[in-house]
């Protein structure tokens, strides 16, 4: 260990005095632990809120509903208000100049613009 790294104490020590079980014992080396942990979606599924009494608030019941205001459409390239949509790529644009630029975009740029809006259709 280089002296400056050691003196800066940036690395977490492997053995810590205040712990009853050390990390190396709890998570032995060599096993991939990524799959052990359930993501939020799986956690919520496992919670099974449907079986609990419905009037108690839970993580899902607090979620916001969709907005009541109709969503305004903004140009994907410039950000101004977009009154038009390109039929080929489904990108929104504000004026003909932007339209020309859209027609000059490459495929992956188009996908990235759509991904900004969460509008990419992925066929698997």
């Amino acid at each position: 260990m280089e002296p400056e790294v050691a003196s800066s104490e940036m690395v977490l020590p492997v053995v810590l005095p205040f712990k009853r079980v050390q990390m190396s014992d709890k998570y032995p080396k060599g096993q991939s632990r990524g799959r052990q942990w359930k993501h939020l979606k799986q956690i919520l599924q496992a919670e099974n809120y449907a079986s609990l009494p419905a009037d108690e608030p839970n993580y899902l019941s607090i979620e916001s509903p969709p907005s009541m205001y109709p969503s305004k459409k903004y140009c994907d390239i410039t950000g101004f208000e977009a009154h038009y949509v390109d039929p080929r790529t489904t990108l929104r644009y504000a004026n003909p100049g932007v339209f020309k630029r859209i027609r000059g975009l490459t495929d992956d740029q188009i996908q990235r613009y759509l991904a900004l809006r969460n509008a990419v259709i992925v066929l698997r």
Binding site: S8, E9, L12, F18, V21, W37, I62, S64, S67
Partner: protein
Amino acid sequence: MPPSSSSSFTRPSRQSDYARFSPTTPIVIDNGGSTFRIGWAGESDPRITFRNVVQRPRHKATGDAVTLVGDQDPALMKYFDCTRTSYRSPFDCNVVYQFEIMEYVLDYGFECLGANSEVNHPILMTECICNPLSSRSKMAELLFETYGAPSIAFGVDAIFSYKLNQQYGRCYEDGLTVCSGFSTSHVIPIVQGEPVTKACCRTNIGGFHITDYLKQLLSLKHPQHISNITWEKAEELKMEHCYVAQDFASELQQFQKGNEDAKEKTRCWQLPWVAPTQGEVPSEEELTRRAALKEKQGQRLRDMAAARRSLRITELENELNGLENLSQQLDEVDEHDVSSILAGTKFYSRQEIESNIIRLTQSLRKAKGEPIEVEEKNDASLLEKYPLASVPDEMLTPEQLKEKKKQIFLKTTSEGRLLAKQKRLEEESIRERQNQLDEEKRLENPELYLEQMHARYRELCERVEQRKKPKTNGNHNLLGGVGRGERLTAAQKERMRLLTSAAFDRGKGEDTFGARDEDWQLYKLMSKDNDDDDNSLDEEEAELARVTCRLQANDLSPLPQDIDPNFVPRSDLVPIPGGTTEFQKFRPQTAEDFQIILDVERFKCPEVLFQPNMIGIDQAGLDEMAGISLRRLPMVDDSLKAEMSKSVLVTGGCALLPGLLPRLEAGIRQLRPYLSPLKVVRASDPVLDAWRGASRYANSPHFTLQTISIQDYYEKGESLLRQYQMKYTI
């Protein structure tokens, strides 16, 4: 805008007074999505603060994987190999799910706090509202069993902040707290000092989404600088330059029209850039000096080449003399001694010696610069070498026939080689002649020559591009399919026809595809990448490359200057926007190309908090959430709602955005009845108030009643955790 200096990095320093605190003093932890704060109850500031991320790179020297928590000093990171690692957070949205990472974070937090023996203090930790039970129980298990805490308590950070501000007098007992954090935003109504969890409202938008949106927008706008626009840089830009527009639509209008205000609001980030030194037109002395230098260099090279050549000539001559002596010896001597003499040398027969002599004389002649004799001998030797080739078949035995076949084969190959050599010589001579003509043209009229070269270059460029264009017909279809109303080119039509006819099912027994070899050519025709004009395309590209070289070339010729000092190859140029791809004009790079402009993004990115639809999240924005939360309240008492509207507190990291409060106030006013009272305040310190509120809470004498002790945990376990609900007014 001055170039941003490297962010000053300060590591949390190790505390040394851990032992000073009695075992009844609680440790207060604000486990936030972006930062982790830990400290002692009763103090006004957390002792330790760091970013709630972990990375596990490899130490380059030892090769072990080490754990680094939080941000690190960039100067020391060179000792670690971070290529296959990334920052990992224990959170998924606002719920802790990766407890291994959480353990690393807690380890680091306690270690920096100075813990040496067991963590023998009650722990107050923050969590999200309505935290799923599994997450809460795993956290409890971690704290009790791994760290040995005697008792723990869980609370919601937004409410701690509200309680603190209530004590400061900024808000009242009944109110609304709008907490906009890292990955989520909540609106929690507070009635008589306690939160009404049923009426709480959560949208999955936070500071993370704003930064991410900014990063994506800038990367798309300036794809050539994509490596400079990192996440950390985007956060810096957001904190420094983003603001919330009071009226989004009119701000957009201002920028669209290009008003003076819009110009003032535009900020520009200049990336480090050094102009390529074009150099002024060199003066006369400069030119002559350069010419003399080149001459000297050329002369030196020529001398070296001459020396090498003379060396080689002497070598060859020596060898030749030796061989000639040997052959003379063999002539003089008898037959029997021939073999013994030959055994002493490395040759096996006289013919070998003779052929070697011939070879050497030829190379000698070449080295001396004399023309090579035409190899007429070869024709004769061909016939000699393959005597059987010319003899008709009937006169030979079967073995001789085999011999003959071999000889015919060898003869044709050597003939073929001769022909190829001749063709090459011809081509070379043609090219030589062309080059000479070129040089003459250039010498006699440099200007015209230059023009011609430029014209040729442009022509070739266009032609190459045009060839590549018709493939797609200007289409950039997403999935390669044809949209509505698309016209197909002839090539595309043909391809479709092939595909459909090939796929047509003719029934059993009728399909004879593949019986003939030519059938498989169909796939070649069908393939989209097929380039029939491959050959001519390559030719043109090769010529393009040659012309580029010539234009750029730095000659050793007597001309004092380069052919064209102002020529810049296409790749270094920047397209002038506004033109179509067919007729683009180019210009050399300037300082402006290395500037990143923030104009609309400044207020567009924080707008995501109010219009989550902009990034595709179909939920209500901050102002609407307040209305939804008020509606969800179980009691229908309007006067209470009016009371609550007078005490709306905005807290959380995003509350620091300038312009958020007036915008939020205007938004909520739209939802409330006309002329009903409304007052929106910001927390005194939106970032630290949660921890401070929790610290004060833990310091109060009745805190112990709100904790879960380790004995209770072992007795009752999960059911206790499920029912656990902290009371905030104590």
